[in-house]
Amino acid sequence: MDDLNQLLLGFQVALTWQNVLFMVVGVLLGIVVGVLPGLGGPNGVAILLPLTFGMDPTSAIILLSSIYWGALFGGAITSILFNIPGEAWSVATTFDGYPMAQQGRAGEALTAAFTASFIGALSGVVLITFVAPLVAKFALRFGPAEFFGVFFLTFCSFIGMGRENKAKIVASLALGFLLAAVGLDTISGDLRLTFGSPELMKGFDFLVVVIGLFGVSEILLTIEEGLHFKGKRAAIDLAVVLRTWATLPRYWATLIRSSVVGMWMGVTPGGAIAASFMGYGLAKRFSRRPDAFGRGEVEGVLAPETAAHAAGTSALLPMLALGIPGSATAAVLLGGLMIWGLQPGPLLFVEKKEFVWGLIASMYLGNVAGLLIVLATVPVFAAIMRIPFALVAPIILVVCAIGAFTVESSRFDIWLMLAFGIVGYVFKKLDYPLAPLVLALVLGDRAEDAFRQALLGSGGDLSVFFSNGLVSTLMILALLLLFWGPLGDIRRLVARKIGLGREAPLAP
């Protein structure tokens, strides 16, 4: 109850007119940085940080965290419309969002994505409001072995589900791991797989690869079919929002599951990217129609968006309560807190009550404002599909090039984008799945680092991965998920055998 009173106090702080104005401005800016690939939440926040030095800390963090909300919302837009993830955590959104757009259901996909984001964020904020100190303590239990457990669980919930040729799935996964290994190895401090080239030294950035694999290759594939976008005759009006909302209650189980996965990953901090993949993988696992995934299933949009947004929001919790950044954006905000003279950590909740609760209240309000703003823009974005291909395609490619460049301010990355555009084109035509490659690229070296950190600590003893309840649970859960498919097959096989046995006497 005390918390509720505090929250009301927070709303009073957050609801002054200038704070609401900051919120709206922040969300709008966030959408812009979220839409532009390469410019992400961390950039948006970092760029505006110096402007806030003179501001009241509460207003400043409301402005900056609203950019974060906006970026979380905005990442989905280009994923759905052009198959280009605006943010790393919206890669999984492309799997079903883009096919939906091709079928003329862009409005529906966008509405689903935004609403799912909102639901995810809301669950994250509720978590922060009521159980912050408790959960924050939990995050401390994650050592390297536990981190490895989380990453392993993410892989297992996602892998082993493709319709594609098994050898091609494995090849794609292995290629992703190798690409992730290129560059400086954290554990040994040595360069790996760079072959003496200074360009390869920085490794393959996830976003650059994804912009090429998904965005550029999609344009090349589209043009094969003629010079136009599919699905451009989509009905565009705001009623699509209501129609989509009417179907959402059906997916309550997915929404809850993804929210839980997201909150878990945000706090631990496995991160929004891993959360989005895990949310997608689990939704497919538990769906009654797993084959519909990847072909424009609305659940495939809801699941990753809910998880990513829940994780993105929950990631602020360890930052406030412990001073641990749960995400890159949180790391920048953390820097901001210190510059404004606030010391993050448990004492923040005691010493700067109105700051903390003002921020929490602004999370509720900022997300509501964000949802309203992005929903209002659904028709605008869906209308982009009507612009002639010969105008939109070059602009998309220009934006891709800028996106690839801005990730690391490296011209070489634009070439990489082009190269991965060809790889994506060939792989898609030959039915090599791209999702395992992307997943391995984003989590591969982190999983490897965690594995080797754990073994350094244990002196090379592998039993560290089953040394306590938490990590054992993670590992067993992961193994269960990995063998879920084969187990199910065996069960079905056995059932059929028994069934046949029973029917056999009837047969003749």
Binding site: N43, A174, L178, P388, I395, F405
Partner: protein, 171 residues
């Protein structure tokens, strides 16, 4: 509004000639084998063993072996597959119409910066693939770089690659 052009080779008959899929499958498998060989060479060169925990080449080496096995498997099935068309020559021409300007664009960024290159790219693309009125093309080619400049250089203060023209203007 410019109408989308419908070239005669838009939807080719299934029997049309093109690049063999078996050939491309084989090439990709061989390339993947090559990648794994490179990774193996690099990893074993640096140490891929187990010294109180994995050395820094341990994982890349194991993964490269797996990649090699998968590549052999795809190569095997590629050689046994029935012949089909990977991409018809007509489609390839269309893809080249996008890819060649894109390649030139990336090349041009190195010399004239991203703004001028973008303008040229838009003109090339719109003239080659669209049927826009000249003023539409010019408008798009001028406005897009200007908007990008405003957003990135002026608002977000993110410097993008610039060339001699920007340098003359003091940027």
């Amino acid at each position: 509004m410019a109408d989308v052009s419908h070239p005669a080779d838009d939807s080719p008959p299934a029997s049309e000639r093109g690049i063999s899929r078996r050939l491309v499958e084989t090439l990709v498998s061989l390339l993947l084998l090559g990648v794994s060989a490179l990774a193996l060479w690099d990893s074993y060169g640096r140490g891929a063993g187990w010294d109180n925990g994995p050395e820094n080449g341990f994982f890349p080496a194991r993964v490269a072996w797996i990649l090699a096995i998968a590549a052999v498997a795809t190569l095997w099935s590629a050689l046994r597959r029935e012949e089909s068309v990977f991409v018809t020559y007509g489609q390839l021409r269309l893809v080249a119409q996008v890819f060649v300007p894109l390649f030139l664009y990336v090349l041009a960024i190195a010399f004239v910066g991203i703004y001028v290159a973008s303008a040229l790219f838009l003109v090339l693309f719109m003239v080659m693939l669209g049927s826009f009125r000249w003023w539409q093309t010019v408008l798009a080619a001028v406005l897009t770089p200007l908007i990008i400049f405003w957003v990135f250089e002026l608002q977000f203060r993110v410097p993008l690659p610039k060339g001699p023209i920007e340098a003359m203007l003091g940027y």
